[in-house]
């Protein structure tokens, strides 16, 4: 789960990590007022669920409150397109107004899961502000990684080694040790899958400050944190993906025109690969899950049809826990409810497949049925090419 930069900074601040003075603004007037409070000179930062904002023009330095107002007026409602947003971009509805800080030196610091060791890991680099993945690819020797033993947690001496490795000395080094310990505590207590400070800066005045911050929460741990759902900004999310998540469906919008409904994430990915291989373009990833009811299957089908790019639907089910008759009934219910006229190809196998096939064929729906995956993919791709 994503949150905005200003929310991430509030979280970090609550763990004693220093962040610039600032406030979120929802209107241009609020931007101006906050700029005044900051003493005139400030930074206005677009809050979207994606990185790369600076290069896309989403971060403005304003010398005075009037300029801040101008930046606010220009940024609100603007669609920012960055390498992380996709071509549609994301619309700016919130701005973070912060004091402008004189930067001495920049660093990179984060904690995330290291899958190789199955431990959380501190990642640090003296090359701050850079995209860490780019840096990892180009000069991995500039990145320090420290896996943390969950039994004992991050220890001061370990953090000190990392801080010294960044070239920090004396009081600032010790400040950084404390910051890292707090960052680890934050990561654990808040169930973060990522806490990232990039850049972490030493100001000209000689203080550490988290200039930019990113936090992702572990979706599986949301049940432990009642406040997380309230932090979500739905304007930053695909409406169909929001609806899907309400029904516990894993749905991702893609660029093509073939709507897909599959059970199981691996099989769903493989089905998309197969469609592409045969010259088709999938419109979505949708894992209808293991033990879905016919109502949930119907919802899934309706979500697929709500996407106006969809010109045909391919259903691929290998019933294990999932029964083919339940899938068939869900499709029939949804298609008759919304009056679907698009071509539909259904491939089913596994538990109660005969019953599922019978239901579909007797439903009167214009459904092409097949027992074979390859055959089904060929059919739907061909039907769309012809129409």
């Amino acid at each position: 789960m994503n949150i905005h930069e200003y929310q991430a900074k509030e979280v970090l601040s609550s763990f004693g990590i220093p962040v610039p003075r600032g406030r979120v603004a929802l209107t241009a007037d609020q931007v101006e007022r906050t700029a005044r409070e900051m003493g005139g000179r400030c930074v206005v930062k677009a809050q979207i669920y994606a990185g790369g904002r600076g290069k896309a023009g989403g971060v403005r330095l304003a010398d005075n409150p009037e300029k801040a107002l101008e930046a606010g007026k220009d940024l609100f409602g603007r669609v920012l397109i960055t390498p992380q947003t996709g071509p549609e971009g994301l619309v700016v509805r919130r701005l973070l107004v912060e004091e402008a800080v004189e930067i001495g030196k920049e660093f990179y610091l984060s904690i995330t899961l290291d899958r190789n060791t199955s431990r959380y890991c501190i990642i640090a680099s003296a090359e701050g502000g850079m995209d860490i993945e780019e840096l990892a690819a180009k000069s991995p020797e500039k990145i320090r990684m420290l896996p943390i033993d969950p039994f004992v947690g991050l220890r001061s001496y370990e953090a000190r080694k990392v801080a010294l490795g960044l070239g920090l000395q004396g009081r600032i080094c010790e400040d950084c040790v404390r910051l890292m310990l707090n960052l680890y505590r934050c990561c654990m207590e808040k169930d973060c899958s990522l806490v990232e400070i990039n850049p972490l800066v030493v100001t000209r005045a000689g203080w550490l400050l988290a200039m930019d911050a990113k936090i992702n929460f572990d979706d599986n741990a949301i049940f432990r944190h009642q406040d997380y759902p309230e932090m979500l900004d739905y304007t930053q999310m695909d409406p169909l993906e929001i609806t899907a998540s309400e029904f516990d469906l894993s749905y991702i919008k893609l660029k093509g025109n073939i709507g897909c409904m599959v059970n199981g994430a691996g099989l769903a990915m493989a089905t998309l690969d197969m469609l592409k291989e045969y010259g088709g373009e999938p419109a979505n990833f949708l894992d209808v899950g293991g033990g879905a009811s016919k109502e949930r299957v119907a919802e899934a089908f309706k979500i697929i049809l709500q996407d106006s790019d969809v010109k045909g639907v391919f259903v691929n089910i290998f019933g294990g826990i999932m029964r083919c008759d339940v899938i068939a009934q869900g499709i029939i219910d949804a298609a008759s409810e919304v009056g679907c006229t698009l071509p539909i190809v259904v491939r089913m196998d596994g538990t109660l497949v005969e019953e599922g096939r019978r239901l579909l064929l007797e439903s009167g729906l214009d459904v092409q049925y097949t027992d074979y995956l390859g055959d089904g993919v060929e059919k739907i791709v061909k039907m769309l090419q012809e129409s």
Binding site: L113, S118, K276, E277, F285
Partner: protein
């Protein structure tokens, strides 16, 4: 022979009285597995379908001699259940539960380190030794006894692969679903190693997907150690970067975890990789024929 489970395995089901727990307990039993006991705290002393239910795994093990645990406990309590199984002296725990917080699994993994218990999963379909023992949620009917080992990060895609193997005349020694999360118990290499040592297994089919580096590591291990032919399919060739494709572990981020990279390193290691999921059976056959 087979790996991990066989007709002598005695299973205790943790969370046996839940909806999913009971349904799959019955399915496993119907397949021929020995369900020795169930565990649901607060329901000790009762019976369900004639199976004795205990409050703790320890009691279940002491009373029935169960050595394999199948876990259906909800995600908020599943980590505890895995640790309980380990403490009770269970040899193999299979955790079907999906949605366990990463922090919990990091701790579980650390606790199990150096211990005797093996863990499969979480968020997995479990494992099956055809015609002997099913410890999981896969449809039993598609499996057939034979000489191919199957190891996979996926669920239904594994069923697809197994069906193709069976249809083409290649039965299986054991099929293991290791799970789609980012922190799991046994990994590809652990299972490949067992297949490598198993006298009956003549070849292995490995199903991977985008995200992480487990397939890459497995490829290097295969190149160095594997004495038997391996065929593979990797799902997610066309997955867009930055999007989590259903499984917690299935994401291409920062250019890492791409299917193309996994496929090329597997091929370099002598694995025969098919690019589309309808050719999994044939890929295994051609790998066997050399």
């Amino acid at each position: 022979m087979s790996i991990l489970v066989n007709k002598h395995s005695k299973i205790v089901v943790q969370g046996i009285t839940g909806r999913a727990g009971l349904f799959h307990t019955r399915q496993c039993r119907e397949y021929g597995s020995t369900i020795a006991a169930g565990v649901t705290p607060g329901k000790g002393g009762t019976r369900i379908d004639g199976i004795p239910v205990f409050d703790t795994v320890e009691e279940a093990v002491q009373t029935t001699g169960a050595d394999v645990s199948l876990i259906f406990v909800p995600s908020s309590a599943a980590a505890d259940s895995i640790l309980e199984a380990a403490a009770a002296g269970i040899g193999l725990a299979v955790c079907i539960t999906e949605g366990i917080p990463v922090r919990d699994m990091v701790l579980v993994k650390r606790c199990l380190q150096g211990g005797a218990m093996r863990l499969i999963g979480p968020n997995c379909p479990g494992l099956i030794t055809p015609e002997e023992c099913k410890v999981g949620i896969m449809p039993g009917s598609i499996h057939q006894k034979g000489r191919i080992g199957v190891v996979s990060r996926s669920g239904t895609l594994t069923y697809e692969a197994v069906k193709q193997l069976t249809d083409i005349g290649l039965g299986q020694t054991t099929c293991v679903g290791i799970g789609g999360d980012s922190v799991i118990g046994m990994n590809f290499i652990d299972v490949l190693d067992l297949f490598n040592q198993d006298e009956e297994t003549e070849g292995v089919f490995m199903i991977g997907e985008i995200g992480g580096g487990a397939e890459e590591e497995a490829a290097l291990w295969i190149k160095k150690n594997m004495k038997k032919p391996v065929a593979s399919f990797i799902a997610g060739l066309t997955a867009p970067p930055g999007k989590r494709m259903g499984h917690a572990g299935a994401i291409v981020s920062g250019g890492k975890g791409k299917a193309e990279d996994k496929i090329s390193i597997l091929k370099e290691s002598g694995v025969s990789v098919c690019r589309i999921p309808t050719q999994m059976g044939e890929a295994m056959l051609s790998a066997l024929n050399g």
